[in-house]
């Protein structure tokens, strides 16, 4: 049987780290660790002696890992940055997904590939979830604001809800803006005009 690998995930966001762990667990019996606290990162990594370190491509702490990757003291393990030109497609897929991997020297590419594939898939999944969540939240916010703007209009002009919405829509069209933007402006202006 092949040696068990120690994989470290550097990720302060737990919601993001856990699905990656799940994805990696499916690959077999690896020792998977999460580093969430990035102070003393170099020290923490040295303690785990990982075979693979996975980290967000845009994590500023990557620049600290770079130093580690080039360190060659007697007690340090040689760690290579995983960019292998023999598999440019995989590298590009990883970079596009926003994953970077640091891999211990001499680890065979066929052992790295499934790990990286799993990480890439989870990074993409997380990205989609985050986009969906942001869009849902924004839509909800807009609905709330439009409801408030309608209420302001109904009160100020003595019109019903339907007429209030029609007025918002017409104004938005006349000004080439979104209903939500007009509603936002109206609510803000109304707030300024109201004596507290």
């Amino acid at each position: 049987m092949e040696k068990r690998l120690t994989i470290v995930i550097v990720e302060p966001d737990k919601e993001r780290a856990l699905p990656i762990v799940d994805g990696l667990r499916e690959l077999g019996d690896h020792d998977i660790r999460i580093i969430a606290e990035e102070t003393g990162l170099a020290r923490q990594i040295a303690e785990f002696r990982p075979d693979v370190v996975l980290i967000d491509l845009a994590n500023p702490s990557r620049d600290i890992l770079e130093e580690l990757a080039l360190a060659s003291g007697p007690t340090e393990r040689p760690v290579a940055m995983f960019v292998d030109r023999s598999d440019e497609q995989l590298t590009r897929a990883a970079i596009e997904a926003g994953v970077s991997a640091y891999v211990v020297d001499g680890l065979r590419p066929d052992r790295i590939k499934p790990i990286l594939d799993a990480a890439i898939a989870r990074f993409h999944m997380f990205q989609r979830m985050r986009t969906e969540l942001a869009a849902t939240r924004a839509a909800l916010e807009e609905r709330k604001i439009i409801d408030r703007a309608k209420a302001v209009l109904m009160k100020a002009r003595g019109i019903d809800e339907e007429a209030a919405y029609a007025l918002l829509r017409k104004t938005a069209m006349d000004q080439g803006k979104r209903v939500a933007d007009i509603a936002q402006q109206l609510v803000m202006a109304a707030g300024l005009l109201t004596c507290r």
Binding site: T39, L57, P60, E66, L70, F82, I95, E96
Partner: protein, 391 residues
């Protein structure tokens, strides 16, 4: 005609100004370009994205392409530095404890005299000194190691620690570094956070230290000469605009917008104006020429600089020095600089190598056409570097 879009990576620092100004002030559009500026958070990210072709060009630390050329990075397509984007712009800061010790022995915090500051620091620091720098291949690392070794610190007494620029203040407050060297506005940001005092500008150590360069993949620079030339001219004109001091306040405003630095403009203006607050109490110091983008042939990518940085890196890492220099120099593309900026009217020096550190004052020298002014490039300790004869 539609504009050609190029994606450029940058990190949020005031020396990203040529990219932002080229786009915002229309220098890019004049050359038929639209620059999509991508804000990045790590130097390694910039390097990897450039290597994978996800960005077309990058605002990068000058020593980074040297590190790549020496094989000290991941296995990526070859990178070339085609022009320098800035000189200076860095500041060295110490923590409150060292600040108090320095004041106690009468150090004036003049923010100018590197010799005096280095000696004073040597007197008050016992044992190791931990210094934060932004990346293992950075002008900051070269500046602090040169200055501290020349000030009587032994190599074993210095611990150079990589710290992302926006985190310098936090890391110093946590007691993980005693001092740091970082590009603006992050030194001023640390001063305002209350935990740091500015000791020197980078220019006090080396008066014309090239800080950032424009780096492209070699296959891009060589196969897309029209876009490469257009981009270089747009950035060169942006640099010229930035070196008119009357434009610096406006540059601070533009650069500080949420899309770029996302900080109060007052912070960026300190570095741009060369007028820095050195301690949270409000002491101001003038630092003329704190950052330069254009004047004195600031953008010419001397091959002798590539050799000098390669020499330093090779010595530090026990590599063959002559071989390192020979590998680094071809990646500073003075040929492309001449080819693409000659039509814009850039002053071009006769040679592509020079004795580094030799000019104690700005000097008029012969150029390809007529004469040109070279900016003083003196080291505080009189150090000079003679490059190998061009291969």
């Amino acid at each position: 005609m539609p504009l050609t879009r190029l994606r450029l990576g940058y990190l949020p620092l005031i020396d990203a100004a040529p990219l932002v100004i080229a786009q915002e002030m229309g220098f890019a559009a004049e050359e038929g370009l639209q620059l999509d500026l991508v804000r990045l958070t790590a130097w390694a990210q910039s390097r990897d994205m450039l290597g994978a072709g996800l960005i077309d060009a990058a605002h990068m630390l000058v020593p980074m392409p040297v590190g790549q050329a020496l094989g000290l990075g991941p296995d990526l397509p070859a990178f070339d530095l085609v022009m320098f984007l800035s000189q200076g712009g860095q500041a060295i800061a110490v923590n409150n404890r060292i600040e108090q010790q320095l004041r106690a022995i009468g150090h004036p915090f003049d923010f100018a005299d590197a010799l005096a500051a280095g000696r004073a620091l040597r007197r008050v620091v016992q044992g190791r000194l931990r210094v934060g720098v932004p990346f293992l291949f950075s002008t900051q690392l070269e500046l602090v190691s040169h200055w501290l070794l020349a000030s009587g610190f032994g190599a074993a007494e210095l611990e150079l620690v990589t710290v992302p620029p926006p985190k310098m203040a936090e890391v110093m407050a946590a007691g993980e570094v005693d001092a740091f060297c970082v590009g603006e506005p992050w030194a001023s940001f640390a001063v305002d956070s209350g935990g740091a005092a500015l000791l020197l500008p980078g220019a006090a150590i080396w008066s014309a230290a090239p800080e950032k360069g424009l780096v492209l993949r070699r296959d891009f620079a060589d196969t897309r000469p029209d876009e490469t030339g257009a981009l270089m001219r747009a950035l060169w004109r942006a640099g010229r605009w930035l070196d008119e001091l009357g434009h610096r306040a406006l540059a601070s405003e533009i650069l500080s917008r949420p899309a770029y630095l996302d900080l109060p403009p007052e912070l960026a203006e300190r570095g741009f104006a060369g007028r820095l607050m050195i301690a949270s109490g409000g002491e101001l110091r003038e630092a003329p020429g704190f950052i330069a983008f254009h004047a004195g042939a600031a953008s010419f990518p001397w091959k002798s600089i590539a050799a000098m940085i390669a020499d330093r890196i090779a010595r530090r890492r026990g590599l063959d020095v002559a071989e390192a220099m020979a590998r680094a120099m071809p990646h500073f593309r003075t040929d492309l600089y001449r080819q693409h900026l000659r039509p814009a009217g850039a002053a071009l020096p006769g040679a592509s190598l020079r004795l580094e550190g030799a000019l104690s004052q700005d000097r008029v020298v012969p150029a390809e056409k007529g004469q040109m002014i070279l900016r003083a490039d003196r080291f505080f300790d009189g150090f000079t570097f003679e490059p190998p004869v061009a291969p």
